[in-house]
Symmetry: C2
Subunit: 119 residues, 2 copies
Amino acid sequence: LKSNTFHMSMLLDYYGELLTDKQRELFDLYYNEDLSLSEIAEHVGISRQGVRDAIMRGETILRDIEDKLGFVKKYSKYEPKLREIAESAAYIASVNAQVRNYEIAVRVDRISKLVNEMI
Amino acid sequence: LKSNTFHMSMLLDYYGELLTDKQRELFDLYYNEDLSLSEIAEHVGISRQGVRDAIMRGETILRDIEDKLGFVKKYSKYEPKLREIAESAAYIASVNAQVRNYEIAVRVDRISKLVNEMI
């Protein structure tokens, strides 16, 4: 049954607020806390089948939203790129500490500030 | 009646796929094409009140999604920041054309490449 856990955690992270509280709770226990269906059933006091149905319904909803909006596909690539920009800017700043070019110093500080606002 | 047109266009741009085709069409005619309720009613062959109700329902849905997900609030600030990073990187590259520091050239090219992948 269990789908790609990493992807499901991402979908929950991006769109979880569009699920009901109950769907989100069950989904979180299954995909983030890694409980089994039986453990979740015992924990929340509904049948194993009921848990399974709710999680599969949640999956369908989240996948459908991602198919329509595509924010995970688009924005999950942003964070590693922003981190690499931040590292490159820090490296330029360290090289420029020897070069001592004022214009470069000002602009690279600006890049660092902007990228840190986005991370 | 008409709400903040710019904000409504943004909401439609981000989340429009979660509306029905009909809701999206009416919303687009009203907020992007700037037709009046009467013009839309004539265009699509339903009552003015029907158009009004559908657009208001669409507004409620889109506002509710933004309240829950907040992607417009978060990501609409990204584009101007990314453009400013791109400009600062281009400026550093132009200054470095005189300075001729190889490490700075490599890193600033990398920043330009990454930021252009995001814009």
